[in-house]
Symmetry: C2
Subunit: 113 residues, 2 copies
DNA sequence: GTCAAAGTTTGACGGCTATCGTACTTATAT
DNA sequence: ATATAAGTACGATAGCCGTCAAACTTTGAC
């Protein structure tokens, strides 16, 4: 059996599906963690508080929207953020979600008074 | 009775609520129409295909997320896009949704063969 | 005062989806 | 070969949300 899942092409990315993927806090957290490290992360290595089966569901939604790419390394399924392709399809969207303001703001440092 | 609804302050805008407002195609269409004209539009003057009561619901969601400001002019409720304030709270988000790519692309002109 | 126009409110309904547990599959280590 | 680890697949469930119709409110026109 083939263990490599199908990934959509950039030309088929669409805003509706991407927004539906990103509106869920757990999925957005996954994307943020990938964006923060710029490295591949195994499904089980994310800091999320849902069961494994629920996590699988979230990764599927992210993959089908084109946000992540998945491949196996042993028994671990590694996840890569498709940053460049998403930027090409929907310029500025991921940038907007990764700004300090989009996160909670309050970056410490000059913590107002 | 006061007919002016309450509007959230910029400091209380939050990404989750804004994304939940923008993920619905009808509501995103409302925002796009407001962004395209840069003028106030009455609730009944939008090109949307839902009943009046459903439209009321959508406007409420948009207002509570901070995306629009509403005020009465006679019996008509006018809607204003809070563009500058939203840009301050979540820089780049509305820009990302109004790019040609975010829309259907295919802007005609050089319609590839 | 009467009527029409523009929205709101309320209640109901249906479908979608995030969630979980259990069983299953695949690969690695012993 | 056995056991364990990492995910997947499959129901099942519960809650939310978009939708509408009907009744109501408010304003402006006649």
């Amino acid at each position: 059996m083939e263990r490599t899942p199908s990934h959509p092409e950039v030309s088929t990315f669409n805003l509706q599906q991407v927004l539906e993927a990103l509106v869920d806090p757990v999925r957005r957290s996954i994307v943020m963690q990938l964006d923060a490290t710029c490295e591949d992360i195994a499904c089980g290595a994310f800091d999320i508080s849902v069961s494994k089966s629920t996590a699988t569901h979230h990764f599927k939604v992210l993959r089908e929207a084109g946000l992540i790419r998945q491949h196996y390394v042993g028994t671990s399924r590694m996840n890569t953020l498709r940053r460049a392709e998403m930027d090409e399809a929907l310029p500025g969207l991921l940038d907007a979600l990764t700004t300090p303001q989009a996160q909670g703001a309050l970056i410490s440092g000059s913590a107002g008074k």
